[in-house]
Amino acid sequence: MELKLIFDKPKTMTDTKTYYCPGCGHGILHRIVAEVIDELGIKDSVIGIAPVGCAVSAYDYWDIDMSEAAHGRVAAVATGLKRARPDAIVFGYQGDGDLAAIGLAETIHAANRGENITIIFVNNATYGMTGGQMAPTTVLGQITKTTPYGRNPSRMEGYPLKISEMISMLEAPVYVERCMVTSTESILNTKKAIKKAFTLQVQGKGYSFVEVLSQCPNEWRMLPVEAIRWVEEEMTKIFPLGVFKDKYPEVK
């Protein structure tokens, strides 16, 4: 019988074992990004930017040119890289603390300038790296290390920031979608979104943004299966999935 290889590690992934916790969404998303880079044949021209947060060592896992950035400054570093290397495909990979708290100004302004870059935004409603503090996207009532009584707007702890909605209000961005990575179907859909975001950049169309709701069972104090359910049932109530902006629906 002839053996046929039907599943393999993407070329863009290194052999390094990830240090992500069991049940974490980052591993799935890393693989999606790697598959997309492989499929688009851009491994030789892509430059990634790792955030400060759980994905800080992303360059250990992707076999591509990569830079670190100071906490929150991915969009600014991406701007500098892309302006210096307009032919490179530049993407940032950021969590909710990095992008939506400390880096909100850089995020909004890079989007508003219409930088021809791709930002992948991993929203798990908590600070994973520092041990589970409140994120800008922490949902109401959610217990974290810094909202031990549950996030409560009447204590002026604010409301979850809806970043995809905010970015889609701007004129310049060409594509904004929110996805998740909880099931085969949602994973395939996320891959489609990320592929489209990269493709738009390859075509020089402008700023693309994909938010991915991601499970963090460790900091949520849940079993991985419960965490998946929580994304699907609770997070999507506040962060509805879907395409928020698409100037080029014909691009797949």
């Binding site: 430059i47 400054r73 600014a76 890289l81 490179a88």
Partner: protein, 356 residues
């Protein structure tokens, strides 16, 4: 041929001459001429001008462009440079080359927009976190705005380090005759470390984080070895009538010009004074100052700054206790007074009294 040029614009055009095609900046007085000049000039030469949303963003755009291996500059003034410190620490840690300019104004706080020298500590001792240094060049003339800016790009590429042009609002706003070089060509510098997309080579990573036991210490050792090399190779200063001087003024930037003109005036009256003008603060000319301190004819040094006394600490560290080091300064954008400097110098010539 010399032409009349404003200091800030001289700096901007020199960056273009040096082959810099990437400018990221945020408006702040008294350096706004640079931002405006670049906005107009960069498109003419096919370069990139981005008005950033903040100095924080600007310095991180510089990080990105530097990581991509191109010549890049940002310019600012004191409060803006404070905002950049985080990014400067990262750029230094990542061994990235870039040129920065701080056209200093009065501080602390929002201060004012007059020329000042209150940022010496921040520039020279490391304003951000960690054990890092910048090469710090200090122009006092429009001509030096040109020469030092061009030199800064070469030093940055040679040593893979951020180079800071530390000047003051007076030099930045001053118009005087100066000349651009006609045939400048940058040397070849290896940029195989740059992020360009890993085509036909193993991937490059620009990083400042190491979580293993000795990673960060090893990077620190690399940095310190580089700084030792720079100390041996780059130190810059200008001596004026120090060969037989009994009292030596030590200054940089605008106060150094005042000291030089006082030197001439006092020499005409028969007083043996001289001026030691620092052109680089890192590396600091510590050996030359020590040599001067050991000269029999030198009674002491008078450090003049537009600050509460910052560089004077480094002069004292260099001279040790061999000769008295006195200080006179004005703060918050006020110029040191010529008659005060003369008064202190004459006191020192008479008896070497301590003045503070």
């Amino acid at each position: 041929m010399k032409e009349l040029i404003k200091g800030n614009e001289a700096l901007a055009e020199s960056a273009i001459i040096a082959g810099c095609r990437h400018y990221f900046g945020y408006p702040i007085t008294p350096q706004n001429e640079i931002t405006a000049y670049m906005a107009k000039r960069m498109p003419e030469v096919g370069g990139v001008f981005v008005q950033a949303e903040s100095e924080v963003a600007a310095i991180n755009m510089v990080f990105g462009a530097a990581a991509a291996g191109v010549r890049v500059i940002t310019t600012t003034s004191s409060p803006g440079f404070s905002l950049m410190q985080e990014g400067v620490s990262y750029i230094a840690a990542a061994h990235l080359p870039c040129v920065l300019a701080n056209v200093m104004r009065g501080g602390p706080g929002l201060g004012n927009i007059a020329g000042s020298q209150g940022d010496y500590f921040q520039a020279v001792k490391g304003g951000g976190h960690g054990d890092y240094r910048l090469i710090v060049l200090m122009p006092a003339y429009v001509q030096e705005m040109i020469d030092f800016t061009i030199l800064a790009f070469d030093l940055a590429d040679k040593y893979l380090i951020p180079v800071l042009i530390l000047t003051d609002g007076i030099v930045g706003q001053m118009v005087e005759p100066a000349e651009f070089p006609k045939d400048y060509k940058p040397n070849f510098y290896d940029k195989s470390w740059a992020l360009t997309g890993a085509k036909g080579r193993p991937r490059n990573i620009v990083r400042t984080l190491w979580l293993d036991d000795y990673g960060v210490e090893n990077n620190n050792i690399k940095l310190q070895q580089k700084y030792a090399r720079i100390k041996a190779e780059v130190v810059m200063y200008d001596e004026f009538m120090t060969e037989d001087a009994e009292v030596i003024f030590v200054a940089y930037g605008t106060p150094a010009r005042i000291c030089k003109s006082i030197t001439k005036k006092l020499r005409d009256q028969g007083y043996k004074v001289g001026t030691f003008r620092l052109q680089s603060a890192f590396p600091f000319p510590e050996y030359r100052l020590m040599e001067l301190a050991l000269e029999k004819h030198v009674k002491g040094f008078l450090v003049v700054e537009m600050s509460a006394g910052q560089m004077v600490e480094d002069v004292r560290l260099s001279v040790k206790d061999y000769k008295p080091v006195n200080f006179y300064g004005r703060m918050g954008g006020v110029l040191p007074e010529e008659n005060k400097i003369i008064e202190y110098a004459l006191d020192m010539l008479k008896g070497g009294v301590e003045i503070h």
